[in-house]
């Protein structure tokens, strides 16, 4: 159980990461704002409380694993990895530049701390499943976390992987769905409905939890509960707000793949820095 002070710390860290996301996106002039901001508390809770890893030794045997299946949210991953010490924070300003280590979507070949390459949606859950099976074969205590988008739930491969993970009774795997309700062309419900999402996962044999994806306490509790689930994989459907933390980005479809302008950055920082 996290103490109130720890939770408060996570909240502070989350705000710092939001600020870095906005700054790096503004510098690069392109990238995915909305889906990065909706996942900040999820990644913060993972990297600064739940997961075991060594930032100076990303391949450390005993580590827990993280796969960002919704790879377009690379900025939140990069800002989190920098904060965790995988690389220097001043590298964040090189996002999306030719010759830099921070590709537009996560690349395990280029960036320390990125474990597998993603960006083409629907593939991360399968890779996480493979990792979980490898960990189990080696009888290691490590856990595997994977973050998916809710629009991503429309990909058929997600359900192939969902079926397989339950079939193999993989219980060191925890998927999180960033349930922000939006995708590129509009609300998920309008583009291609996925509800009842919890029931789909339950019917596929997973242990399902539904939480507020911006509340670190709830997120950490859900991770703890997931660790107790035996004989089947766990999924956390995290209700989130796309663009969270910046009032004029929140719930705006248009800010899926648009970087903040200089003026927007200024106003956003005012809101966040208070």
């Amino acid at each position: 159980m996290a103490t109130p002070a720890q939770i408060e710390n996570l909240r502070k860290t989350a705000t710092g990461i939001r600020i870095n996301i906005l700054k790096m996106l503004n510098t690069s002039g392109s990238g995915h704002t909305g889906g990065s901001l909706s996942a900040v508390e999820i990644l913060t809770s993972l990297f600064f409380s739940e997961m075991k890893y060594r930032a100076n030794d990303p391949g450390w045997e005993g580590r827990d694993h993280f796969v960002l299946s919704k790879g377009h949210a690379a900025p939140v991953l990069y800002a989190t990895l920098a904060q965790a010490g995988f690389f220097a924070a001043d590298e964040l300003s090189s996002l999306r530049r030719l010759g830099c280590s921070l590709q537009g979507h996560p690349s395990c070949v280029c960036t320390p701390g990125v474990e597998v390459s993603t960006g083409s949606l629907g593939q991360g859950l399968s890779m996480a499943l493979g990792l979980a099976l490898a960990v189990r074969l080696d009888q290691k205590p490590s856990r595997v976390y994977v973050l998916c988008g809710d629009g991503e739930m429309q990909e058929g491969q997600i359900w192939e992987a969902a079926m397989a993970a339950a079939h193999f009774r993989v219980d060191n795997l925890c998927a999180i769905v960033d349930n922000n309700g939006l995708q590129i062309d509009g609300p998920v419900a309008k583009v291609m409905g996925i509800e009842p999402l919890w029931k789909k996962w339950e019917d596929f044999g997973w242990g399902v939890q539904r939480i507020d994806g911006h509340n670190p306490e709830e997120i950490l509790d859900a991770f703890a509960t997931a660790r107790q689930i035996r004989g089947r994989p766990a999924v956390i459907i995290a209700k989130t707000v796309k663009g969270k933390g910046v009032s004029f980005f929140e719930n705006k479809v248009e800010y899926h793949g648009v970087a903040p302008s200089a003026d927007e950055l200024k106003r956003a920082l005012k809101e966040l820095e208070g």
């Binding site: 593939q123 493979g130 990792l131 099976l133 490898a134 074969l137 192939e160 397989a164």
Partner: protein, 330 residues
């Protein structure tokens, strides 16, 4: 045959008289079991075709290290990528069209772009799949695998080479796509043959013409070389079992020596071995090239032998291509 100059020791001297056909996938299955015995990091995946691909042999021996992923090729490739990330050496198998086609983008991003150590051994490549017809045949797989950066692409010529290639793939760090077949192939090589990834092998020496071939077409090219020899044309037959990385030196050297080239493959003439060889020669040493392969069409149902005739992949077709190439260099 005294008219041929089969490479001694590594090519069976009587291979044309005694074809000794063997299934490549049997060699795969038994080699995989051997690898599984010596290395517990070797794991295998299949997509409901394990009895056909022969991963069933591994499954029987090592049930804990075998994953039947069901009819879900995309998830199979992604899971294999994750297993590789976790330090395993996964061999993933299904039919070549489903491995290469259905899961192409998973192979591209999850495996190749991530530079993960996954070995895809796909059986039932080409048209010799036979009666099942075009849905189950593939004449496109080599083209779409060859174009992926960092992919190693292997098409063994017989069961002997298959066993050695599977071992070499295991030793290589990085992604491999290996194309095997349903049909049994005559045995070209002796056990003394040493397979090396990225190295072609001269199986018959000659001066007038170079025939680059892979898979079953290596044997057909030897048969063609015997017929050509009777017509006074000596053909160097080169087994190009690694389509990527390609043995450019041997290809250019052979072209310089013979100044006339034939490529032969059980694949579309677009993008496969013919494409690879002409890409090299057009830049390094342009000579007349004639391609034997499937001419931009789907397969069709029939017996394997009938199909080889129908698609003009028989020794006689290689002979005709050779005569054309030799004629063009004059």
């Amino acid at each position: 045959m005294s008219s041929l100059k089969l490479t001694p020791r590594i090519v069976r001297g009587d291979c044309l008289e005694k074809p000794d056909p063997k299934a490549l996938r049997d060699a795969y299955g038994s080699t995989l079991v051997k690898l599984g015995e010596k290395d517990r990091n070797v794991v295998a995946l299949d997509a409901d075709l394990s009895s056909s691909t022969r991963t069933s042999m591994f499954a029987a021996k090592f049930p804990d290290r075998f994953f039947n992923m069901g009819l879900a090729e995309q998830n199979m490739m992604g899971t294999a990528a994750g297993l590789a990330k976790g330090g395993k050496i996964p061999f993933a198998s299904t039919f070549a069209i489903f491995a290469s086609g259905r899961a192409w983008e998973q192979i591209r991003q999850s495996i190749a772009y991530s530079r993960l150590n996954v070995k895809i051994v796909a059986t039932h490549g080409g048209i010799t799949v036979g009666e099942d017809g075009p849905s189950h045949q593939t004449v496109e797989d080599l083209a779409i695998m060859r174009v992926i950066p960092g992919m190693t692409l292997i098409v063994p010529a017989d069961a002997v080479e298959t066993g050695k290639a599977v071992e070499a793939a295991y030793r290589l760090q990085g992604p491999v796509f290996m194309r095997l077949t349903r049909a049994k192939f005559p045995t070209v090589f002796t056990d003394d043959y040493e397979f090396q990834i990225g190295k072609g092998t001269v199986v018959n020496e000659g001066e007038d013409l170079a025939i680059f071939a892979c898979g079953l077409m290596v044997y057909h090219s030897l048969q063609a070389a015997r017929i050509l020899a009777e017509k006074g044309i000596s053909a160097r037959v080169v087994n190009i079992s690694t389509l990527k990385p390609l043995d450019k030196d041997l290809i250019v050297e052979s072209a310089k020596k013979t100044r006339a080239v034939v490529t032969a493959e059980e694949h579309s003439i677009i993008g496969g071995l013919g494409g690879a060889v002409t890409e090299v020669l057009s830049a390094a040493f342009p000579v007349p090239v004639e391609m034997v392969g499937v001419k931009d069409s789907f397969g069709t149902s029939g017996k394997a032998e009938e199909l080889l005739k129908y698609f003009q992949l028989e020794p006689g077709d290689i002979v005709n291509a050779g005569l054309r190439a030799v004629e063009r260099k004059k």
